[in-house]
Subunit: 324 residues, 2 copies
Amino acid sequence: MTLILALDFGGTKLAAAIANVGSRQWLRCERRFSPRNANASSDLEMMRELIHFLLQSAKPAAIGVSFGGPVDATTGTVRLSHHVCGWENIRLKDLLEAEFGVFVSVDNDANVAALGEHRFGAGQGYESLFYITVSTGVGGGWILNGKPWRGVGGMAGEIGHMVVDPSGPMCLCGKRGCVERLASGVYMARDVREMLENEPQRRRERREGEILRDLVGGNLELVTGRVVSEAAGLGDELAEQILYRGAWGLGVGIGNVANLMNPQRFVLGGSVTKAGERWWEVVRKTARETALPEVDLEIVPAALGDDAPLWGAVALAQSTLISS
Amino acid sequence: MTLILALDFGGTKLAAAIANVGSRQWLRCERRFSPRNANASSDLEMMRELIHFLLQSAKPAAIGVSFGGPVDATTGTVRLSHHVCGWENIRLKDLLEAEFGVFVSVDNDANVAALGEHRFGAGQGYESLFYITVSTGVGGGWILNGKPWRGVGGMAGEIGHMVVDPSGPMCLCGKRGCVERLASGVYMARDVREMLENEPQRRRERREGEILRDLVGGNLELVTGRVVSEAAGLGDELAEQILYRGAWGLGVGIGNVANLMNPQRFVLGGSVTKAGERWWEVVRKTARETALPEVDLEIVPAALGDDAPLWGAVALAQSTLISS
């Protein structure tokens, strides 16, 4: 059997898996959380351990890598990580090829996850699709004519920083009201915290955010995107306000993308997409209203969940076997 | 020599031209204005006259057609025209093939103009580009991997109805603050007229719109997009306000598209792009601010002007000769 090694350098976790070519099941799969003070060297060292643990004495035919940050896919060089320091200009492809003596293919996580869903998940049989991950941040990856579309500098897919409300809140990117600023878990949690910290007395009198406060035992530091979703599901109006504002922003973004590129399918993954049926309703309704009536629009959940980047890495590696 | 016939059904005018394969000059080119009460039949009849006048007894090897409205390019069927009635579901390709006995290729004007600029104009040598026409309306056409990208239903390229300001003015499409609503000539003219008609006394006292009024001899019905540009160029503050708000909206749209698709080049054509250097500055500056710093961005004027759809039609027709 021909063995494929798939690696996923996420912002907060690392994963590695092996599978035989053509198989849809992992032979073995391992995950680790990356520590808070991780840097590129410690991440690489931890990944090496995972790899040797998985492979034992076996040798893969090719390696595919998903990296959580901008990558020059033609050279396999990491541009930077927004979460882990020390990754600037690391030639990850060269480094792994020197170490393992096989062909290595590297791309950013959204592109790789798009490829994973296209080949093995909710995008099978669709020649054009846009995959969007809505999690800590918001990112996207394209499949056009059955192949990844990366753009001239490898930067395509950045729906996260599409401005949908120029009078909205300020994002780290320097613009107001971009999709990520409204819809990502980190920003939703921050907005909820700030709203509860401002005018706490008035809000308490009106019992605003009460369910939210209960969920974190009164410690607002513990509010995350997941907590906001949960509180909204339980009927907390403040959490609903923030969660569905995010769904609205994402829906406007998707509708704009539909008008612009008219892909067959939108596939949505990431933790925020587990926020419940009403979140999906708001996304779908807003996207439908934003797209022109003549533009068909289909929005479906990702099928591979957290495994999408790993399966995409398998597809990346397999394509190098075919083309080499 | 092998003769190509190129046809352009614009909203307000018709054009036909003939050229030899490989040539970059028209053998003959004819244009007519379509009358106000035109319908599909009268447009077709007028186009027939143009064609017979051009061809005399010659026979083209293929015909390429640019149509000003949504088209199903795979079947060459017009969906509708926003300007001329009676075009719904007209099988333009079949109709012309039956009449002239040669292969006919039909696509909408923005896609065809994009192809024209790619093959013969400002997009030569660029494998990925987005062409935007800013005129009566705002439309766009894609070239990706050196070929037109039309989307699954042929609707790709609709930057005109991308929402950039959800609290902006209402568009006919039912949404607020889309690019076309802000940046197109027709809407800019309407906004200027309405501003001058409201509170005319107060505006006169402040001498607002004075240059604009002078340009149309006081008859606000004569205000067009071109008049707004001209007045802005002469320092009319009200005209400036509307013209540069449009440039801002278009710039946000272009920045969003750059983040999403990261094409090599943006090519801008249409009457509004002749509004002067400051209009271009606002478009470029806003697009640069909207795009992520890592996303390269180049925005250039179209090279073919009003001939872009005709030259694109030549390219369309030539490609059928090669593939047939």
